[in-house]
Amino acid sequence: MEHHTGFVLPNSGHNRDAEASKLGMWLFLFTELLLFGGLFIVYMVYRYMNHDAFLMSSFELSPVMGTINTIVLLVSSMTIAMSITAIQKGNTKTAIKLMSLTVFLAFVFLVIKYFEWSAKIHHGLFPGMEHYTNLPKGEALFFFLYFFMTGLHAFHIIIGVIFIGVVISKTKKGLLTSDNYSLNENAGLYWHLVDLIWIYLFPLFYLIH
């Protein structure tokens, strides 16, 4: 900021403040957790009320696909964490490669999800379809929550891909460096959150009996 007053406040809101941006990101992650938290509560209540129907429905999902996706996301979390170490050490090129790999893995996740979803939709299990409307109430709730929660999660994956894309392009332009990498860290934090939510979604829908 350019002042011709001869006086500049030391604690300006326009100064670069890595701590502030990380604190802001953490607060934002809190809100994301609570957003999904509302859905987890609904899931818990309806699972309690419709235990058998939820169990029956969960057999329709493929644990193999789910497991592959879990591994894909965990690896992508690792690659983005590595990219942050790389940029801290000034290895910009490695950082870009690792972030691009993260984006690639995100696409792998989405493609697998796409096949899972289309198999369910093919069976008419999407809310509003003919087969769905004839399902018992508990099973209908299970599939609604399945589509709603994994859909919202997939939406977050897409936002994350865009976020990491922006970080990649800024890193390429040399705007993010070893002394200024809080945006990289924030992208990493966000990506870990997306991963973390999946770690809970996976057992809730695919595994628990």
């Binding site: 900021m1 006086f7 406040l9 941006s21 509302g38």
Partner: protein, 541 residues
């Protein structure tokens, strides 16, 4: 980035001109004023809807509108007043404008995010108001959108709940910004316990905004999904649980009443020291009681649902916790009153609003205890008593604090002065009108008149008439007050110095209006805390 001709004595109104320099400004002061102008616009719409409702209730039977229109009126009145006016009110206007100045910095931590939150607010407002003109008419569910009716009604509920969802984001971003600003940008030497109490109040508020709003966001999305896809989430006829909706709704919406009330406590804690010229009584108690209210306020949502079939144990616990909230609130009231004791009281319009706040908020608080008690709530649930209670805390409390703040900081924001005599007259009419409007509701509620009906039994006629006449008195006072504030802007000849009220917090050390970067010299802190009038730094013009 800024014009190079900028000098110390240019204020933030000068410099860039034109509409775009405002609606795309990242300056927290301009954003605060953007919020002020948009909020006041919606407030006037909300007041108009309220006046129409009151007119309908003037006599038993139909006066003006049909039952369904009346339902839409109170829904839209609620949605506008809650989501567009009172939740953003004090934080978004005065928090944005004054928090950075009171902390001795030049902006919030994320100025661009701040602008984004205003734009999201405008988007949400357009969505909410669009239901007036397109689709199947505004929602008629009440602002609580209770299922299963909100799932079944033919009116435009989906748009209204999506609007509330979008407005929630705006609220979250403001809260997030304030928390980071308070942590990172306090002036050197200002520890947490040397912050002005308004900053403390905003700090507690911001945490609620961040931690409660997402729950309502996801709940409202579920309502929209249920309507669009026909899934039985909350409608029992297709397998849902309507009580679950009420829980999810109030998990946010009860803490939200503290989003509405806590900033007002902050305002009162600023006005009282200035107009008594002494340190506030019990600084730490006031600061920590804000956090205590924010914390306990999380665990008492169930008191909205005493009649909807919870277990006796749950009701007992929720009721007890509700009573606990009265403790930190009473601590504040005692401290405010103790601050007046032996102060050199200077009766000016802001002080009048603050005193009215204490009086009315106490009525609101005590009626709240009556509603929080299990036995009395069974009788009073869903009566006009609830409406009276709610308006005493929200309008008589937060609303009066908002207008008090407007009179208090008016000379600082615009560098001009309104006519004090007219302001006092307007206050008196406003105050009388307010109590005429809402006190009869408490009585008619005790007599058993239910809320949310456009018609009532003949024995409720007299209190309803008084209440409706009161609404006209209140509107007169409001118009006079706003007219006086607006005409002060155009006709004020008085040159306002830095500190017209002899205040002590940092905003009174800078010019009126403040320069773009807020301070033209380093702000000086009083020696022992923010209200240390005995060691008040002398301020040269």
């Amino acid at each position: 980035m800024y014009m190079t001709t900028l000098v110390a004595n240019t204020n933030f109104f000068q410099g860039k001109k034109g509409l775009f320099s405002w609606i795309f400004s990242v300056d927290h002061k301009r954003i605060g004023l953007l919020y002020l102008y948009s909020l006041m616009t919606f407030f006037i719409v909300g007041v108009t809807l309220g006046l129409l409702m009151r007119y309908e209730l003037l006599n038993p039977g139909k006066d003006l509108v049909e039952a369904k229109t009346y339902n839409q009126l109170f829904t839209l009145h609620g949605v506008i007043m809650i989501f567009l006016f009172i939740i953003p009110s004090i934080p978004a206007v005065f928090g944005n404008f004054f928090l950075p100045i009171m902390l001795g910095t030049d902006d919030v931590s994320f100025p661009r995010l701040n602008l984004l939150s205003w734009w999201i607010y405008i988007l949400g407002a357009i969505m909410a108001l669009s239901t007036l003109v397109y689709g199947d008419g505004p929602a008629d569910t009440g602002w609580t959108f209770y299922a299963p009716y909100s799932v079944r009604t033919g009116t435009n509920v989906s748009m209204a709940v999506l609007a509330a969802f979008v407005l929630g984001f705006s609220s979250i971003l403001t809260g997030l910004n304030f928390i980071v600003t308070i942590h990172r940008l306090r002036t050197p030497g200002m520890s947490f316990l040397k912050m002005p109490l308004f900053a403390w109040a905003l700090y507690a508020t911001s945490w609620i905004q961040v931690l409660a709003t997402p729950i309502i966001g996801i709940t409202l999305l579920m309502i929209a999904a249920e309507r669009m896809l026909g899934v039985g989430l909350f409608d029992p006829s297709i397998g849902g649980d309507p009580i679950l909706y009420q829980h999810l709704f109030w998990i946010y919406s009860h803490p939200a009443v503290y989003i509405m009330a806590l900033p007002a406590f902050g305002i009162i804690s600023e006005i009282l020291p200035t107009f008594t010229q002494r340190t506030i009584f019990g600084y730490k108690a006031i600061a920590f009681s804000s956090l205590a209210i924010a914390f306990v306020g999380y665990f008492i949502w169930g008191h909205h649902m005493f009649t909807s079939g919870m277990s006796g144990t749950a009701r007992f616990i929720f009721s007890m916790l509700t009573f606990l909230v009265a403790i930190p609130t009473a601590i504040k009231v005692f401290n405010w009153v103790a601050t007046l004791y032996k102060g050199s009281i200077n009766v000016q319009p802001p002080l009048l609003y603050a005193l009215a706040f204490i009086f009315q908020f106490m009525i609101g608080g005590f009626t709240g205890l009556i509603l929080g008690a299990l036995a009395t709530d069974i009788h009073l649930h869903d009566t006009h008593f609830v409406v009276g209670h709610f308006h005493y805390v929200m309008f008589g409390g937060t609303g009066f604090a908002f207008f008090g703040a407007l009179h208090y900081w008016y000379p600082k924001i615009w560098g001009k002065m309104y006519n004090v005599k007219v302001a006092n007259v307007a206050f008196t009419i406003f105050f009388i009108g307010f109590n005429m409007l809402y006190f009869p509701m408490l009585i008619v509620g005790l007599m058993g008149m239910p809320r949310r009906y456009y018609d009532y039994l003949p024995e409720f006629h007299l209190p309803n008439m008084i209440s409706t006449y009161g609404s006209w008195v209140l509107a007169t006072g409001l118009l006079l007050m706003l007219g006086n504030l607006i005409s002060g802007f155009y006709t004020s000849k008085r040159k306002i110095g830095r500190n017209p009220w002899n205040g002590i917090t940092l905003e009174w050390q800078t010019t009126s209006p403040p320069p773009l970067q807020n301070f033209d010299r380093m702000p000086v802190l009083p020696k022992n805390g923010p209200y240390d009038y005995e060691n008040k730094p002398s301020i040269k013009e």
